[in-house]
Symmetry: C2
Subunit: 188 residues, 2 copies
């Protein structure tokens, strides 16, 4: 199957997800991943510390994709609006239409392995903590910062699941706005 | 057969939390817990399958404490109000003023051990899934059920943390109502 491969990192990511989907996370080796991508193990380790990192990426980088937009938001924006803005910024960078098939493949792998599900929960718990910290740094009181950040992660999780399953191929940002409106209607 | 010991379960729980607080979760053995409680290891295993279960209890029982009130709520109650009602019912049963010192001790143990934090995240993820299922069983559409259940867990987590740290000794239910109002104001 001929397709355009923009670089080693993306080829390794695609090969990893293919192999995890075919034979599971546990049974897949780095040697197999490198071979499938047509690269060496050495190249793999230039980009990733282990096969799990292909799924989860670097936590600090991931958290900054949420917290940098929070830090950059106009000073007079409300706490939850700042969080929603950060989710939009994150979506524009990461959750594009082109990214959806790989995201769906990744989710299937995670859904099949309880240890990976735990890791994903930890990853998002880290995001909530990081966003709460970024809100406090803007002067948001701690109690409000925690609630806004945790609710933001809830909105993110719900949006992400709907986006992956959306039959009409709507964008992440469109679904995000829909979930925010629904949360306002539910809780308001 | 180990014989029935009056109050054995509570004594074991208190001894477990004391030892975890003194020397950490990993380094504490069931033999030490039983000795501290003045009971045998055999009695311990009549009540708990392992030392971790003392902290986390039985997951099915825990989930039912949330889902039974959801199933019993009046038919015309909105999805999020049903969830908030379930959190109140849960609080009335488990998170009384008398329970706060033990809950705080338990939280300190969990906060000190990343593996226990993971377990706690999984426990609450299970609650969110169970509540969403209980809402769907009432006829709530799946998308709304997930959002209401996940938001309910967020409200629960935030309330729980505030309750443990509350300097004025307010009840869980009072703080819960406060968090629900704040969420409505944030998201509405």
């Amino acid at each position: 199957m001929a397709r355009w491969e923009p670089g080693a990192s993306d080829r390794l990511r695609a090969a990893t997800l293919e192999l995890f989907a075919e034979q599971g996370f546990e049974r897949t080796t780095v040697a197999e991943i490198a071979a499938r991508a047509g690269l060496t193990e050495r190249t793999f380790f230039r980009y990733f510390t282990d096969k799990r990192e292909v799924l989860f990426g670097d936590q600090t980088t991931f958290e900054r994709a949420f917290t940098d937009p929070i830090a950059a938001a106009p000073a007079d924006t409300g706490a939850f609006a700042v969080v929603v803005g950060a989710l939009h910024a994150m979506a524009d960078g990461f959750f594009t239409r082109e990214a959806r098939p790989l995201s769906a493949q990744r989710q299937t792998v995670i859904d099949a392995d309880p240890a990976l599900q735990e890791r994903e929960l930890l990853k998002l718990a880290g995001v909530a903590r990081a966003m709460a910290g970024a809100l406090r740094a803007r002067g948001v009181p701690a109690a409000t910062a925690t609630l806004a950040a945790e609710s933001g992660v809830t909105v993110f999780r719900v949006t992400f699941a709907r986006w992956l399953g959306d039959p009409t191929d709507r964008g992440f940002g469109t679904i995000l706005d829909e979930v925010v409106v629904e949360l306002g209607a539910l809780a308001g």
